[in-house]
């Protein structure tokens, strides 16, 4: 049986996931929870209410007065602030302000993120990289009840008719600064949460507590992939 | 006797004790005018009469006696501060407090409880040790107690280790006390009034008469009020949250921000908490009053307003932290909530003594920590107003210190700990 310690990289949450019975697979150099022993049940739960740890997925950030110019030169299409736009290779470009961008990949094929990493140099002084890969954690809350559950933890109205797919709210969730991105998986409502990785265990605990009343479950990446279809 | 009490209880007309003789109209002139009828102003009037025999004094209060922060605080009294200036000053205040019930012939319910400032980190333990050493040097009972011992002294707290702020130890200050704050205001007010001081309620100060102000701040000669102007020999302003406004009437600026501080009490519970417990990291402090209510407070509002409104989010934040210390009170209801306008200085130390205006003195910058200082402020202000000399105890708190970059640096001990 694979153990998370066999991998070079691990999420801040690996102990918590191990305790919950995670079965591990390799991705992007990480050991990630593939499932918790009940793939069918987890996939069904993900459509109702579930959380998963996506910290292993590639991401990057760029910031500065010259960010927009530089990033357009690299062939990236930019959305308005607080919106995300899907790029050709599937990467989501999340505009956090006029001068800040966050890039999120949904699998380990992170062509755009790798290309930008190689293209950037110190000479592009008005645009600099933000260390998102290690400093941030990423979780996802999926399913029909996710908006109702998030309402317990967050003051922004995230209901699906008020907060469209690819809308972003940079706000407070369980008293922490969190970037909330609505990013539906297939037909399922889903919110990705990106936040300071040092508080991952705390926020995970809050989510587990908040979803209990709705019968939510912790699921592996396989269930999330199944939703994406 | 029980029958007399029963009969009194059943009568419809209860006589109101005449604590403050109504002084009637403002006189044309007073030797000393005190602006603000909070504890500090009233104590000053009291000691002017008692210590110095000066009774040609008016206290001008725009509302009612003790309706400001004096009647709104959480009544914590202690002297375990961080700087030598602070420690000496507050210790003198405690000494005076202990005799007040006798002096007034009125019970101020002064109750020594023991004050515990919790430490949740190694660096906090280090600061507590530093404070304990400074305190002991000045003869104040103050010591660091570590977790195991603390657990025996205050067993009510949650000592779990898997919490965000585990309790590692505490600074223990045995003389830490609470008192009935209204009684302090009434005791000083009644004592002053009985000796001839005029206490004018519903009298708002609206300006000052200042002479010789050409190129110089001038000298105060009169006080304008909503009920007319009075001539004054010396003037003291002691108006807490309104300090900036009143100083502006006299023509000078202060390093103060007016920020609300909220507090609340729970429904009465059987006595279970004798200690006063404070946590700087969790921004909470709590004690149980003699009526059984938990008296709770926390940090000041995050931004300034000139209002005494209460907010739900402040309370939610406070209760979240309160439950980390006392998880079993989660079903307890809140009974009352309120706020006061505090006058916060950048170094968390007060501003006392002379001002740029001659014969015009100040008692301000008492922020969230001035109730415990009420007696010593009264004593020192009275001496200053009577003699024109600023005593040693309050010299470090001069307004001039900002001009000299000589701040007091009491922040570590003053914030949240009250």
């Amino acid at each position: 049986m694979t153990r998370p310690e066999e991998f070079q990289r691990r999420s801040h949450l690996y102990r918590v996931c191990r305790e919950a019975g995670a079965q591990w697979r390799a991705m992007n150099g990480f050991g990630v929870p593939a499932h918790y022993g009940d793939v069918g049940g987890e996939t069904a739960a993900a459509a109702r209410l579930a959380i998963a740890d996506l910290t292993a997925l590639p991401r990057a950030g760029y910031k500065g007065w010259g960010m927009a110019d530089w990033i357009r030169d690299q062939g990236v299409s930019l959305p308005e602030p607080n919106r995300a736009l899907r790029q050709e290779d599937g990467t989501l470009a999340c505009r956090l302000s006029s001068g800040e961008l966050l890039l999120l990949a949904d699998d380990d094929q992170a062509a755009l993120i790798d290309r930008l990493g190689h293209a950037w140099s110190m000479d592009d002084a008005v645009c600099f990289p933000v260390p998102r890969a290690d400093a941030s954690a990423r979780l996802v809350v999926t399913g029909d009840d996710s908006a109702a559950m998030m309402a317990k933890m967050c003051g922004v109205d995230l209901r699906s008719h008020r907060f469209a797919d690819h809308d972003i709210a940079q706000t407070s969730v369980a008293r922490m600064n969190v970037i909330v991105l609505r990013h539906d998986r297939g037909a399922s409502l889903a919110y990705d949460l990106i936040f300071d990785s040092a508080s991952a265990v705390y926020l995970w605990g809050c989510l587990v507590d908040a979803m209990a009343e709705f019968g939510g479950r912790i699921v592996g990446l396989n269930a999330i992939d199944a939703l994406r279809g | 006797m029980p029958f007399a009490l029963l009969k009194y209880g059943l009568t419809r007309r209860h006589s109101v004790p005449d604590v403050f003789p109504e002084p009637g109209e403002l006189k044309d002139s007073y030797d000393i005018v005190i602006v603000g009828g909070g504890g500090h102003g009233l104590a000053t009037a009291y000691y002017l009469a008692v210590d110095h025999g000066i009774t040609d004094v008016a206290v001008l209060e725009r509302g009612y006696i003790g309706g400001g922060n004096t009647g709104r605080n959480t009544a914590i009294i202690r002297s375990n501060y961080l700087t030598p200036e602070g420690v000496k000053f507050y210790d003198e205040s405690i000494r005076l407090y202990k005799d007040l019930s006798n002096d007034f012939d009125m019970n101020i319910l002064y109750s020594e409880r023991g004050h515990y400032t919790l430490a949740h980190t190694d660096s906090a333990i280090r600061t507590m040790r530093w404070r304990a050493e400074v305190n002991k040097h000045f003869g104040i009972e103050s010591e660091l107690v570590m977790r195991g011992e603390l657990q025996k002294m205050v067993p009510q707290l949650d000592y779990s280790e898997d919490v965000r702020y585990p309790i590692l130890g505490a600074l223990y200050h045995a003389p830490g006390a609470i008192a009935r704050h209204d009684a302090v205001a009434w005791g000083y007010g009644a004592g002053a009034a009985r000796r001839g001081v005029h206490i004018h309620q519903n009298t708002e100060v609206t300006g000052f008469e200042i002479t010789g102000a050409n190129g110089h701040a001038g000298r105060v000669t009169g006080v304008k009020t909503s009920r007319g102007t009075v001539r004054a020999g010396r003037v003291l302003q002691a108006v807490a949250g309104m300090s900036g406004e009143v100083a502006a009437m006299a023509g000078f600026r202060l390093p103060l921000k007016t920020v609300p501080l909220q507090a609340c009490v729970s429904q009465p519970l059987k006595p279970f908490l004798d200690a006063i417990v404070v946590s700087g990291s969790l921004h909470v402090y709590v004690s149980q009053s003699s009526r059984g209510e938990l008296v709770m407070g926390g940090s000041t509002d995050p931004y300034g307003v000139y209002m005494t409104r209460s907010t739900l989010d402040w309370k939610e934040g406070l209760m979240a932290h309160m439950l980390e210390l006392l998880p079993f009170i989660s079903e307890v209801k809140l009974l009352r909530q309120w706020a006061g306008m505090t006058d916060m200085t950048p170094d968390f130390a007060p501003i006392m003594g002379e001002t740029p205006v001659d014969n015009y003195y100040i008692d301000a910058g008492w922020g969230t920590w001035g109730f415990k200082a009420t007696p010593v402020c009264g004593k020192e202000n009275a001496r200053m107003l009577a003699t024109g000399e600023v005593g040693d105890l309050i010299q470090p708190f001069a307004l001039q210190r900002y001009h000299d970059f000589d701040l007091v640096g009491e922040k570590g001990a003053a914030s949240v700990g009250h």
Binding site: P81, L96, S97 | L254, P302
Partner: protein
């Protein structure tokens, strides 16, 4: 909860912000001592309408808000750039 209309993020709970103090005029570096002390320590502590710097913590975003300290009403907000363009760098 009190709502602050953030120029970047729209209406948000005031708990997401911190107040950075009144918009002030930075004196020239060769100003006299009294001017410098006034700038460093003394406060208007305005009772009335005041313009202040505010900071939205989750986005590290500074902007200017105008509010009434007597009523706790927020009257208007500007992105920092717009405010400086309207009132000049030196306000």
């Amino acid at each position: 909860m009190k709502i602050m209309p953030c120029p970047l993020n729209g209406p948000r709970n005031i708990s997401e912000f911190s107040c950075g103090g009144e918009v002030e005029h930075l004196p020239p570096p060769d100003c006299d001592h009294a001017t410098w002390i006034d700038y460093v320590y003394l406060e208007n502590n305005t009772r009335g309408i005041v313009r202040e710097w505010w900071y939205h913590t989750p986005t590290a975003y500074w902007f200017v808000a105008e509010r009434d300290t007597r009523t706790d009403e927020i009257l208007r907000t500007w992105p920092a750039g717009e405010f400086l363009a309207e009132f000049g760098e030196r306000r």
